[in-house]
Subunit: 357 residues, 2 copies
């Protein structure tokens, strides 16, 4: 605390990312990183960057990357926005679309950065309860909300909503902007980018951190009609003109161009997700149906609790994510690693169960 | 314009960076880029980044880079902050220190991003006039200001203030935070980082874009006592947890470690600055005494006007910066390029003069 800081700093509750413990002995299943490296083409693109590329400012409009994304998604360049990770898009979008409006609605169990942005930008949060089975009913959002944001699939549940349900919401809700945060959509959810051309209040955000294995590179994207992209860009250009460096732009373009590689790693992750889901179910866990690169799982009544398992796993250098919050206090979020990493997780869970019994 | 945007978007006047025209025929002296590439050690560090580094999130605390900067500047790690370019530091610092306070004072001719941040964050700007010779008197800042920010050396004048003058200001001004924006300090100004330990309201910002030849990489830094760094980090962690990618962190560390290279390129730029200043003075220009990697120059009464020269140079693919604003309407800001680039600039100016006479 310092008398020099503004009052807004007093009210902040900053986001806390998952632990970044590294090392050969660590099985890191706590931040939904992709277990596979990015395409070799990405590493080649990075190596091809020259001293001249580095001494000069990058393209502030990131045209090459936006064009690659536009072609890939079947939209036009002025319907694409790119950013320093998708969190930066979200932060700027909260400013551009939700400040000075009625309360913002989002699922009460969801990405924990949303209420943080509300604190930062003085937006009233209005969390909407999930069903008892953790399902998200889009009917629960009010037609009178100042704005709506939800991840699809949702985090940390991994559960997706259908494109039909999204379209019903968009037909009914015209008051403010709807942001669909598709950080994890690469792993099974239906993308709403196809709806952008028909709904002027829809923005879809994506990231290169998960499906594209580029968490270390910080690249996010957003898709919306040009009038929303322009509003977002006006805020961005009043905050940081060049958020995306030259290497990040080149790496992201190369990633989009190697579709085969990306589809292979994504399918491997989905295979491992199925295997992990079945293995945990055999051990008495409840596992929510996941369309993401993580699962949300709750140990059965005869197993050690999620809190206890989290501690045991952590001590064994197997990192998963746990939140000590009422509705999810007996749940663990487990990122889908390689098959070997998942085996190590299961072995450690089995050891904990045998000690407890 | 869109009815979906918040009212704040209506009041924005986004920053406009210098033109990013590239190509072999372009002499680019308009965005104060370093004419020399970064150290070969930087390119080696970039090439050494692995797929594992890319698939994982970067260190959100950027400890290795902050430690390298702390050692270099003789401060402790908790007195160092790093960011996605120094503009990101400035944006977050405006939020952390200047919102909800009395008016913010800065020189009326200065970095044009400051009033943009004021618009974005609803901070009342209170510009302070430079002297007729474009000098900045720190005595002109009010002891009652909500905060003070100025570049040293100032932009676009290139003129520096002394460390003694800064210390006098800090002894007198204790009401709010003083940010000294040392983007160009590598080229001759006395750094105020040495004062950080003694003044709890001082923050000094730096960039790797100019002296370190890494504009394409987006790395900025700030130095202040830990209580200010913590307030800034609270805002950052409420906005974007991982703004600095893995490659940018590695590149910046490598840059700091190759001090010899950096000193050589800096000295070459200073030599060329002296030569350009003399050559323009011979041609009747007024040139302000610059401590930066650019000069601010005004053609003499017998020469074509700055506006006319800007147009002629632009058509000849020699890019410089011009602002059509009252006090500086007959001035050009010219980045210091290589000796060859400066020769091309002078040749084009000479041709324009011979056509005009």
């Amino acid at each position: 605390m310092t008398r020099f800081q503004s009052k807004l700093v007093d009210r902040l509750n900053p986001y806390v990312p998952g632990e970044q413990r590294h090392g050969n002995s660590v099985t890191k299943l706590n931040t939904n990183e992709n277990p596979y490296p990015p395409s070799p083409a990405v590493l080649q693109a990075i190596t091809a960057v020259t001293g001249d590329d580095l001494r000069r400012y990058p393209d502030p409009e990131a045209i090459a990357l936006r064009k690659a994304l536009a072609d890939y998604e079947g939209v036009s360049v002025d319907e694409v926005y790119v950013s320093n990770g998708s969190d930066e898009t979200l932060g700027l979008a909260f400013m551009a679309f939700f400040t000075g409006k009625k309360p913002l609605q989002f699922p009460d169990i969801s990405y924990s950065f949303y209420p943080v942005y509300c604190d930062l930008f003085s937006i009233e949060p209005d969390p909407v309860a999930l069903g008892e089975d953790f399902s998200l009913s889009l009917d629960a959002f009010s037609s009178d909300a100042g704005g709506i944001i939800f991840p699809n699939p949702n985090a940390p549940t991994g559960m997706a909503v259908s494109l039909d349900a999204i379209e019903s919401l968009l037909q009914r809700y015209t008051e403010g902007v709807v942001i669909i945060d598709e950080a994890y959509a690469d792993f099974g959810a239906e993308s709403a980018i196809a709806l952008v051309k028909r709904y002027p209040n829809l923005m879809v955000t994506r990231t290169f951190s998960k499906g594209r294995s580029l968490a270390g590179m910080r690249v996010g994207a957003a898709f919306a009609q040009a009038h929303l992209i322009n509003a977002l860009a006006a805020v961005k250009n009043s905050f940081n003109s060049y958020p995306l460096d030259a290497i990040a732009q080149a790496a992201a373009v190369a990633s989009i161009q190697d579709e085969t590689y990306y589809q292979q790693t994504t399918l491997r992750i989905i295979d491992t997700r199925v295997r992990l889901t079945e293995a945990l179910a055999e051990r008495g866990f409840s596992v929510l149906p996941s369309a993401a690169n993580f699962i949300f799982a709750s140990p059965g009544p005869t197993s050690p609790s999620a809190a206890s398992l989290f501690k045991t796993l952590n001590e064994a250098d197997v990192l998963v994510r746990y939140w000590n919050k009422p509705a999810i206090e007996n749940w663990l979020r487990i990122s889908i690693g390689t098959d070997e990493e998942v085996d190590r997780l299961l072995d450690t869970i089995d050891q904990a169960a045998s000690v407890a019994s």
